[in-house]
Point group: D3
Chain length 249, copies 6
């Protein structure tokens, strides 16, 4: 099985880390390719960045689809463009926020999320609402670190993440804690061990859920909202992204 893990931002060191996290949990027969687009934001912090990661993300997924990848992970905790990815993919597409919440809900009655910046809090609250998880979500906590700090000065950043994880357990009475940024993927295992509480990284969770769905022989439903895009003209410098008749299945 081949899974394409797309980091929707263009920071290679983060893609590297994401790839490692993905490979660390992948089953023996699973090949992980971690990719980032050649255009777009160096990090996704808010809706505007989220919008501009989509062309690169979708280009990656379409290439993966053409190359016959079995499934796809979108490795950004805002779950950007999941619906669009599902339209162009035959196999399953899983976002890391949805994956982490689904895993958390099977391990405990409630969870908190520790994310990077306060501006991401409402985004994640809205995803919880969309996924039917608002009842289980105790609180979204921001560690107040820019995404790329997780790449550079990881000691300080990691300490801030740990502090919020511990407060989630003590103050929110969360039974599970989710790390709300793909850039935190390397911290989950040690935080689980240190706290004795399940601390979930969405990248790993999403890889395993894609493996699960592919292993079940299931593919994205094409009879409703995730039907293959209709062929049509895209104007201007987005023309090359248009879905043509050769894409139809």
């Amino acid at each position: 099985m081949r899974i394409l893990v797309v980091n929707p931002n263009t920071t290679a060191s983060m893609t590297e880390k994401i790839g490692q996290a993905a490979r660390a949990v992948a089953a023996p027969g699973t090949e992980i390719i971690a990719l980032d687009p050649d255009h777009g934001p160096v990090s996704v912090e808010g809706h505007y960045d989220g919008a501009f990661c989509l062309p690169g993300l979708l280009q990656c997924v379409r290439r993966g689809e053409a190359e016959g990848f079995d499934g796809f992970v979108v490795a950004c905790f805002d779950d950007p463009g999941i619906g669009a990815c599902r339209e162009v993919a035959s196999g399953p597409v899983v976002g890391i926020c949805e994956a982490a919440m689904v895993a958390a809900a099977m391990l405990g009655n409630s969870f908190s999320v520790v994310t990077t910046l306060p501006r991401s809090i409402p985004v994640i609250e809205e995803l919880a609402h969309r996924y039917g998880m608002e009842r289980r979500l105790r609180r979204v906590r921001a560690a107040a670190i820019p995404v790329l700090d997780l790449e550079e000065e990881s000691a300080a950043a990691a300490a801030k993440v740990q502090t919020e994880v511990e407060r989630a357990i003590a103050e929110d009475r969360a039974e599970v804690v989710i790390l709300g940024c793909a850039g935190m993927a390397d911290l989950a295992a040690s935080l689980s061990q240190r706290t004795g509480v399940p601390v979930i990284d969405g990248v790993g969770a999403a890889v395993k859920l894609v493996e699960a769905l592919v292993g079940l022989g299931l593919r994205t439903s094409k009879v409703g909202g995730y039907a293959t895009p209709l062929p049509k003209r895209y104007a201007g410098d987005l023309a090359r992204h248009a879905f043509g008749s050769h894409d139809r299945n």
Copy 2:
């Protein structure tokens, strides 16, 4: 007051119609500029198109912001990129789906939506859920017409829309009907008259809501999820969209 109405697709005839609908309801002192991007899909039918309308849409809104527009309407019923637009705009940004649902909820206890293609049904159901309107939404009905058919063969398309509007009233017991595509903007008034039931066009509704918010002196909140984008580098051919230090306010 100057309101920028962005048609996120690149079909000029539709932008024209949207502009007319906007101007038809605008207050005397309101100047309406209707715009479409120079790149992107000719129509938005599903998530993939929705993703690729964003660069053009956001470019339009950023230009509008630079030119001092007071408020913005996003004239596509999927309400694409509203959060991102709100991050870059000082003034209010209103999507036509949210606007239509808000208007409907003040005129009746329930509403149905008549949209174009079946693939849009789950998108609109999810928007209703996001806006807290699922209790009032009786049903989303697809007239089974591609968006651009509303441009070309309007008689046949209009008849299909009318049939679904009438079924919404008779079968769904909807007290209000919403037209779920900017391309239907010209049909609302005559359908209201014919059926005796309020039939709402989102373009007009959004223009009036922007007028209302601007008239109240209110601007988009910048202390949370709609804070101004952080300046950062965008790689590749999206580099020109990056939010730079000169954009900060």
Copy 3:
């Protein structure tokens, strides 16, 4: 366009203030008439007062309807009698709580409400639930001031309101704050300016929403729950309020 703004209590100074707030935001072509009933409670604080403001409120709206007013604002934050007003009005009827919440939801992801007395908290929580806004409502805060204190000793009362607005921003992480009493209408603009966060007065918001709906040519739906009252006899000293055959439309 003529809009009737009914203050459902009988305190003339408050009606005066409400009228000023309404006129301050009304469009050039809009004529605002602010009215209070000649019978009923001097302030609405709780359900009992809310019940007894209805005869006067409805009498005002019926007179307004007879005189051809285009739309109606009910200027009490408990949104009393909205359904009944919608039954007797042809044009739109908007309550100030619903209006403020609708406006807030387009400017931020969350809001808190600052009201007068603690006894009003559950009333407003229930309205948020009814309007599908409970997910956005962070908290209802009581400034612990009787409604009429807002008329008499405004400095002290205004200071208490300001304190709660600031706590809503700091403690509730609300992106928008709503003033939960028509008597606070004069405080919104200065509080917006002082805090840098949108602070919404429902009176202004409702006036602009009525303008919007009237400007769209939309009227209250008469095919369901807001159908015109059935003509029937009312016994005793309420007989004059009965809906007679001459009222039918």
Copy 4:
């Protein structure tokens, strides 16, 4: 124990029927007084009537409170004025819609409601939402009979009610059926017997719930939204309804 059952409309024959239904289920030690106001609508069909039944309803409850009644039933399926009644009553106040839904939820997993006119459907749907019962509510069905027809030509009206009850069981798969009008109180027992499915009359249900709460020694909470009304002046011909200092407890 003395329970005051207030029929909020002024039709004596209906009060008679309600009183009989109440007495038919009351415990041996319970004294039922069924009352209707001397002013107000002859039937409550919609919000406008609902508003004008309140002065009479509240006058009855206040008199009952002064005379030391232990609890109160509001015998109109729209549950009008419950919050206001709870403010003025020391003992429990139960509305017949809430009572019927509570009873239904303990006897089956789902229920439908059969009411009189279509205009009442959204009112009852909103009550179900308020009471947390929307998940159990299969459908509100209107038998298309004016309330007072239940008084006059009961055979025809009863047949229509029966038809809708049977459709609720067969088509809605409702496990319980609720009769959605106090005027149907006499039909519940025979419909239960005929269909083999619990058919609930709200009047009886409310009487038994008041008995239950009084029997538990519980009274309406006075520390929040149902606190005793504040003494204040009521202007004009509602002055006599004002809550004065002599009412305080």
Copy 5:
């Protein structure tokens, strides 16, 4: 009327206390039999205990059904096995959590629950969600006392319960407080008196609700999810619990 109150644990002193609480509120004509099973856990603290109280509980209810009891109370705040009990009972079956929440919702706008151990908090939160009461539930508080401590060292345990009740009123702004364990049944009345706020014991509440439903002549619906169990073989040492053909009605 004869009501069987089953304490699903096997601690006789607690059954005694439950029986007293039940008899203290029962109507003159009501005979209360309080029973505990001869097998199963001495207290129910968590899901595992909850599972193993079911055989005994159901055996008791089936015996009660065979002996013609009119209704049943399940006297454990986790409401274990309510659905199963309803399948085997003709008369109404009420759990003490549901009963307490239903009573609370008619006396105030909100409530908090004071339970024994923190592990019970998610169980009760889920019950509130199931019963449509999550909007009214302010908080579940654990007094941090094992269930059986309520039997032995009641002074210390009662003090802890009282502390949490007072915090529920002061900190949660709960209008009503529910005691979340059958073993606290004896504390409700004095806490109501001391705090001036309704404090509800679920045992009493359930008894009165069963009396209410039986008094209405209503029985559990047998046309859906609570239909009589199908006769079938049970293997091994549970064989005697199998529902046989002689049980059918």
Copy 6:
């Protein structure tokens, strides 16, 4: 990795089929042991059966835990005893209903469930509500076949299942269909193929989700509602199920 798949009923042929379905999807390194208890109902149809499958189910899980199984599947679509199983297991425990719904939600926007008997419909609706999936659940359809018919006369039963699957796609507009009984596990693949729509078997889905969670190194959270049972005495013939001091971890 070793996964224990417990069929909570005692029908060996069904356990056989479940084991085959589990092994068919298990990863190479996964060892599946399918087990049924030596006591309890031959099929689970309703709450009463569901209660009596618990002692056997929990005994199996406790044995599995003692033998060091890494994770557990509860192979009955009512998800009986999941909370209790999670208390006694260190590794993850997944029910087949939750697993199927989680998988469905990542492959489509909506799903319907095809189950055996009508009496199971409310059980599954309630599970959807508990899991936050009610918005995606279009309808639960009963094929009107007893569980054990799926064992004996599979051709006729399979035809009935197929009919309902096809109606779910055509009439409910479900994008995914879930088979709502472990006894249907063998039908999913061929129905997926025949309809072109993902048809999900919960047994396979649960096995893959357990593999996923175990592969992530995650275990059930022990700090809240799934904490290890407290040691205590169980009376009578359930004594051997008591959680003793030797079980503590």
